[in-house]
Point group: C2
Chain length 198, copies 2
């Protein structure tokens, strides 16, 4: 089913709330209480959940928490584990490697860096091993956290290695062929929007 990017962005938030409920042994939940928890519009939440859930929420009972988690994970394609790599093991790269907010089936498995001193050969490795690792482990998603000057070269190299999806945190708009999916995560733009939108 087609779904908007805005809805897609809300699904991980539902998932987070639902998993918290799962831990608390809550079996059923209504869209209204999810909406309340997140401060969202209840009608919006009901529509979103109708899009992704295989069953309808029952009046007075709501959704089965476990089922709803499975449905959202399946919808988001994160019901299978997904290994991701990071290029650039500076502060941001290491922050993303250790970020606790990603869904638990998404694992940032390895970082690569040109700086030998940063490599521990456990989670951080030299760039020279990149191609071999990507091919062998069929990695398709990479995060770029290298300095601006190095980012396009790194990007080209990733594509050459077979990476199909790139999440770029370097402050530069990277150019990629049409078959590559890229998101230039512009923190400066995010901040500008925050400082200027009322």
């Amino acid at each position: 089913m087609a779904i908007s990017v805005v809805t897609l962005g809300r699904l991980p938030k539902y998932l987070r709330i639902l998993k918290k409920m799962q831990l608390e042994n809550i079996n059923n939940v209504s869209s209204t209480s999810i909406a309340k928890e997140l401060g969202f519009n209840p009608i919006q939440v009901r529509k979103d959940l109708a899009c992704v859930s295989k069953t309808d929420g029952k009046p007075g009972v709501g959704f089965v928490v476990n089922d709803l988690i499975n449905d959202i994970e399946e919808f988001l394609n994160i019901n299978k584990s997904k290994d991701i790599i990071v290029i650039g093991a500076g502060r941001l790269g290491q922050a993303l490697m250790n970020y606790s907010g990603f869904e638990n089936k998404i694992r940032v498995v390895r970082a690569f860096d040109v700086d030998k001193k940063k490599c521990d050969n456990k989670k951080i490795f030299l760039m020279s091993g990149l191609k071999n690792y990507v091919k062998k482990n069929k990695i398709s998603v990479a995060i770029i956290t290298v300095p601006r000057e190095a980012a396009q070269v790194v990007c080209d190299k990733l594509i050459d290695c077979g990476i199909k999806v790139i999440w770029n945190f370097a402050p530069i708009n990277l150019k990629v062929p049409e078959n590559i999916r890229i998101k230039n995560e512009d923190l400066s733009a995010s901040l500008a929007i925050l400082l200027n939108s009322y």
Copy 2:
């Protein structure tokens, strides 16, 4: 003039290109060449620049680079310097403190943390000094990079100190009163969108 959030997000990208040109002593630039450089639609760029520029681009000459930079900075409210603080001096907090991509008038001046060992009393200070610093220096914008569990408490404390704008990187939707502007930067949602949008 009213402007969409999407346009707002593009302005820092124009600024970045223009500042690069300024360094290269390029005096004039057309909207077409900015569009080409960024891989944007030239009509879009022309419209965006018309919104923010005080002068029209001259046919065959284009915009004066220096003027356009000033106009965009004024529009984005970053022609005056803006000091920002970070709460949580972990990897992400330190990455943001040292991020080179923010416009140069936006400075992340200080981080606060509960962990004494992280404090160098140069750029990283104990949380106990937060309120005093915020009041004295009239800080209005703060970034939250503490763990999820601590985020709401930190958020409440920031508001109590007089912070008006909050950029939250902790993986939780923070609740704030209506007069506070907040952006919950959900990296998990960003990744979900990237992995699922075609």
